[in-house]
């Protein structure tokens, strides 16, 4: 530490202090290395995806993300069918889960007594802990039969003229995957939105109520806008999870490599095709194309997650002010 030259032997106390400081230094270095390992893992991850997909990237270039052919026999690969399925299932699942999740979050933060709200939130967070393969299992044996016998006939009789509800329904479909996804992501929307709603200062509510607004007007026109960025953040987090979800989707989506406009038709997603075909991939080019799909998925989720974190952080900062 000190650079001053000294000829005298150091006093015992300062030697002892130096040793202690050495222990501090050791603790610091050790924990720093462990923290820095996060960077190492992330870099290694990116490197693996980049290096593993080199064959496919060189052969197809940017065409990979614009071509909708996926033909392992002719070794011609394009990612569109899977990107399409990933985006469609995620967006439809958001359409279902955002209104329900936001409604429940409003109820839990604005209406329910604190004790009841905590108990219900506890139950809802348990839903988030259920492994995705269990959702897939229930999707196959519980949800698909219910969709087949009740929901889809009703949908077809009311909205059957729309192209998105056209064609026969075989059970496994983009719609089934979307519904399973929406159940999986709704706990995230509820628990994060409830937190940001609870963080809105009470005087905001009191001011609105004292101006004669009803409870609902207070909530919808004052509290929700105040917390809006955090709520968007929760939706983005949920979206990122839906985009990357593998098992539950692959078990009910049908796994066909075609682009079809009907939600009732079978489809596929990026994560799902990797899970399905990776072990069957016989050629290097095939594996390379699947890894490139992984790279695309990684890029999408990193961007969505990054945005979500920024939104939640900035709302937190605003409320803390």
């Amino acid at each position: 530490m000190s650079t001053a030259p000294s000829v005298l032997p150091r006093p015992r106390a300062s030697q002892f202090a130096a040793k202690l400081r050495a222990g501090d230094q050791l603790a610091y270095t050790l924990t720093l290395i462990c923290a820095a390992s996060i960077f190492l893992v992330t870099c290694l991850l990116v490197y693996q995806l980049w290096a593993g997909s080199v064959l496919s990237r060189q052969k197809f270039g940017w065409n990979f993300i614009f071509s909708s052919t996926w033909d392992p026999v002719k070794e011609d690969y394009g990612g569109v069918p899977f990107m399409f399925g990933t985006v469609v299932t995620s967006l439809v699942s958001l359409l279902i889960s955002v209104p329900i999740g936001l409604g429940a979050a409003i109820f839990l933060s604005e209406m329910a007594l604190p004790g009841i709200s905590d108990a219900l939130t506890f139950l809802i967070e348990l839903l988030a802990a259920v492994p995705s393969v269990i959702y897939g299992l229930l999707g196959i044996f519980l949800l698909v039969p219910v969709l087949e016998s009740v929901v889809v006939p009703a949908l077809k009789s009311v909205l059957g003229f729309l192209p998105i509800f056209a064609g026969p329904f075989y059970g496994v479909s983009l719609l089934s995957a979307s519904v399973v996804l929406s159940i999986m992501i709704v706990p995230f929307i509820i628990s994060v939105s409830r937190e940001v709603l609870l963080a809105v200062p009470v005087d905001q509510r009191e001011a609105a109520l004292s101006l004669g607004a009803t409870r609902w007007e207070t909530t919808w026109q004052v509290v929700v806008p105040y917390a809006s960025r955090g709520i968007y953040g929760s939706i983005f987090l949920a979206l990122a999870r839906a985009l990357g979800e593998t098992m539950a989707v692959t078990m009910v989506v049908g796994n066909t490599s075609k682009v079809q406009t009907s939600l009732l038709a079978p489809g596929n997603s990026i994560a799902s095709v990797i899970a399905n075909q990776f072990n069957e991939a016989t050629s290097d080019m095939y594996i390379s194309a699947l890894i490139e799909l992984g790279l695309v998925l990684f890029a999408i989720t990193i961007i969505i997650n990054g945005l979500a974190r920024l939104m939640i952080l900035t709302t937190g900062a605003r409320i803390a002010k």
Binding site: C34, I140, G244, I274
Partner: protein, 278 residues
């Protein structure tokens, strides 16, 4: 006008209540259906026997249970030390730009889809060694554990009052000693519960195991062979066309979910109690 506003108020507020009831209802339907089916098909053979070929009755998943245990042990050995020590760094030494970069990166890594982590472990271990192994699966799960282990450790260490640290240092303890003998013991309950939740989360992960530990219909000796795991078995059996296998999948789902929920409930109770005591 005022009447209309009152009606809107009543309708919208009751709708929010309906949403909540709906979601909680789904939870109970899921639990009820799974426990009803699982309990019907669960028997002692499930825990003691190896899987049998289609058509034979009386098989079990003993190898998958042991396989899952081995995978989780490896994951803990990899994920917990890195996560824990990294969390200590962020909470005790973390000021400035580098720690906040670590935090952001950790959150991003936490959001990486599990199937991509599977590709990572495949590239790092399987492709290099030329065969699937328990070790590759354990590595994939371990990497998935790090982000949450790290952030929970940081969170609970930060919650330890500053006065405890000052007290220890005033008595002449070094910083390392203060952390090891005062700060960490004060936060150990929360950290342990967080780690248990983390473990419960990866216990149900299937996607990263598909092309790392693969699966196995027999026992998997050592750490260098493919191994069966409960979540992968549920997947394989559920998508098969055989009724016998479906029954096994239900039993396995029941066991897995019971374990995961049990750990969750216990750990969350402990967490709730520690945060109330604060």
């Amino acid at each position: 006008m005022s009447r209309r506003r009152k009606i809107v108020n009543a309708v919208m507020l009751s709708l929010t209540g309906t949403c909540t009831v709906f979601i909680v209802g789904i939870l109970f339907i899921i639990l009820g259906y799974l426990f009803w089916n699982g309990a019907r098909y669960l028997n002692i053979n499930f825990f003691t026997k190896l899987p049998v070929p289609v058509g034979e009755s009386g098989g079990g998943m003993a190898n998958a249970i042991v396989g899952s245990g081995k995978l989780l042990l490896l994951a803990t050995l990899i994920g917990v030390p890195f996560g824990f020590l990294g969390g200590v760094y962020l909470a005790e030494f973390g000021t400035g730009i580098f720690p906040s970069m670590v935090r952001y990166m950790t959150d991003l890594l936490n959001g990486v889809p599990s199937i991509v982590i599977g590709i990572f472990a495949y590239g790092v271990v399987v492709a290099r060694m030329g065969h699937f192994s328990t070790f590759a699966g354990g590595l994939a799960l371990g990497v998935m554990m790090v982000p949450i282990a790290l952030r929970t450790t940081e969170e609970f260490l930060r919650a330890v009052p500053q006065s405890l640290r000052e007290g220890a240092m005033a008595l002449g303890a070094s910083k390392a000693r203060t952390i090891a003998t005062v700060v960490i013991p004060a936060a150990v309950k929360g950290i342990l519960s967080g780690m248990m939740l983390d473990l419960a989360r990866v216990a149900g992960e299937t996607a990263p195991l598909l092309f790392t530990s693969l699966g196995n219909t027999f026992w998997s000796p050592g750490w260098n062979k493919p191994t069966a795991a409960l979540p992968v078995m549920i997947y394989t059996y559920a998508i098969s066309p055989y009724d016998d296998w479906h029954h096994q999948a239900w039993a396995a789902g029941f066991v897995l979910l019971a374990l995961v929920l049990l750990v969750n409930i216990v750990a969350r109770q402990v967490l709730a109690r520690t945060s109330h005591a604060r």
